[in-house]
Amino acid sequence: MVETGHFALVLAFALSLVQMLVPLVGARAGNQRLMAVGGPVAVTGFALTALSFTALATAYAGSDFSVASVWENSHSLQPLIYKITGTWGNHEGSMLLWVLILTFFGALVAVFGNNLPATLKANVLAVQGMIGAAFFLFILATSNPFIRLNPAPIEGRDLNPILQDLGLAVHPPLLYLGYVGFSICFSFSVAALIEGRIDASWARWVRPWTLVAWMFLTGGIAMGSYWAYYELGWGGFWFWDPVENASFMPWLAGTALLHSAIVMEKRSALKIWTLLLAILTFSLSLLGTFLVRSGVLTSVHAFATDPARGVFILCILTLFIGGSLTLFALRASRLTAGGLFHPISREGALVLNNLFLTTATATVLVGTLYPLALEAITGGKISVGAPFFDLTFGPLMLPLLAIVPFGPLLAWKRGDVLAASQRLMAAFALALAAMLVTGLFIDGASVFAALGVGLAVWLVAGALTDLAVKSGVGSVAPTVMLRRFAGLPRSVFGTTLAHLGLGLTLLGIVGTLSFGTEKILTMRPGETVELSGHTLRFEGLYPQKGPNFTEDRGRFLLISEGNADGEITSAKRFYPVRQTVTTESGIRTLGLSQLYLSLGDAGNDGSVVVRLWWKPLVTLIWGGGLVMMAGAAMSLADRRLRVGAPSRRRKPAAAAVSASPT
């Protein structure tokens, strides 16, 4: 099976070469038969990659330690679920997952792209083929997961214990679906540049793909954040770590792309900019892959001592980013600029959105790369951490978030800020009230806390206002209103949900950072601790044995109003194979807030160091992410975007125009 997988991978590489050359030549020569080769090859390439991936997963599930990658990252005593997720819990396997998703998306274009112009489809598949070829070659040359060991070791070296978690099953696949999903937008952009024109079907295709990729990336980042939150043992949810930034940059650029793609699709303006953004977004995904995969982040020197992988990805990076940007520079002037609009209009608002989002992206990029560049050039070492981003990224977000509610309420082409402001009066009053209540009535609330709460309420209320206005609340009879509400295009609900989710996430962040409380103490069995109105009694430490670890589990009784209200447990785990200690935090969700507990070192007398946090509204941080995902899903369900039904496009679009305020 392993050799089959290896062989399938080589075949998939060969097919990707065919996919990148034949349709491209066909499109240039206008040869239908050559162009038609792309589709079946893409589908077959995906099937072969899937076979290869399955082979590796089977080796992992069956603990086949004759495979080097399995030996290094698995253990026979691991629970089956972690054996399987361990497939992508290492460099080689995760790169295989990367190309699996890449070929999957390519196959989707091949299968569902019949309504695309033949040359566009051929070119898109060819570009997908180029990306595939580069990464297949990377895997085969530097990161082959199928290398055998002879003689085969008896036992494996275990998966990194902190990866032995359900988070590994969800986080990387979601993240990669997002990362790699943007490759389709990239391929469409490069294909458009190769052809030298952007037609209507281009716009119709790029937006749903952006939505899909953005949805998964949002989920992947949110999931990763929650995973870090509970696994790390001190309840932080975002660290501005370079590796996190690597996923955050494509998200920011992708969010900008999402918005400019709307302008392009509805008003065929901002075409060239959207195309450039699509290229940049995927370039940032590639950069993220480089940063995480090359080891350059640990130190410039570590990268220099084992440069094979890093240099390879750097070449891929240069080739694709440099190549596509050169193509852009050469061809962009040939593309026709789109429709005109007044600065105060929905287009104008979206341009402003793009300005702030791209600047924010660049800020994160500079903050991530500056220390690397500085060390490489001058040898000087500096750190760029959370305080830097608080001071630069934060101020960029404030104006952006403040204008979010205006966007959907402005009309296309020429909007009326005054009318939009009037409609937002209620939301504004609500936000102001929330701000005052927070500032005046909550103990210890800072100015920033009050502002943050106000801004979050402004976002939520503003999003709902849009929905209310579009269904005619206050101006038409309730029955008409209900009918209008039901008849609104799904994309309107999508916008509302996405903006609402953003507000919820902000509320969660502000709530946790501003009103969270913390206690660090040493506890003996029977002692109680009180934090923000919650009382916990320490019952004692109980040693336990897991399949591949031992742990000391501390049990705490939550006491509410004098009565026992369930237990919270937290453990210190020891994984003998890797000689690693992990902290399993104890979390109790109460409403939207959480009580978070983690164990420190144990004393000889049965005492233990306990860290206890009260994290108000913290679940909203990720809940908001889920709501954003739901918004993207809702938008995708819009009839207008349903691929294959372009002829039905007119009617809902017209309805949207009539429903929007003028």
Binding site: N73, G89, N90, H91, G93, S94, N160, I162, H171, L175, G224, A228, E231, L232, G233, W234, G236, F239, D241, P242, V243, E244, A246, S247, G295, T298, A302, A337, L340, V351, L355, T358, T359, A360, A362, T363, V366, G367, Y370, G380, I382, S383, V384, G385, A386, P387, F388, L391, T392, L396, I520, L521, T580, V581, T583, S598, G600, D601, V609, R611
Partner: protein, 155 residues
Amino acid sequence: MSKRLSLSSLVLLLALVFAGAAQAVKPDEVLPDPALEARARALSEGLRCMVCQNQSIDESDADLARDLRILVRQRLVAGDSDQQVMDYIVSRYGEFVLLQPRFSLRNALLWGTPALLLLAGGIFIVLSARSRRPASDSSTLSAEEQVALDKMLRD
């Protein structure tokens, strides 16, 4: 008790952050004076644990982080101002220890990029809006037509 992860296991985006699962401040480090302790915590959040991946000493349970935390508290108890504590630590460990880089010439590009880009982008948008509006408002003549018109008027 080194908890550094081997680099080959650097798989996930978050794996780096996990390096040295944090335990942070220990009860015996906490200062009796809450105001002083609060200052110590605030300072700790801005200091890097030098042996960790991008963690502040407030979050890390590495021995070096603990030493630094205690050092910060010692200086505070001795009566140093926040700035004096930071300066003292930078003098011993270098600028690398600061999670917020200094506003220096060397870091000008780092701090300046956001503002510069916002400004440049804003100017670009305004200019491109200006340059396109007259063309649509006044006339729809192409360059060739304009030349032809000028020629006619001159004749």
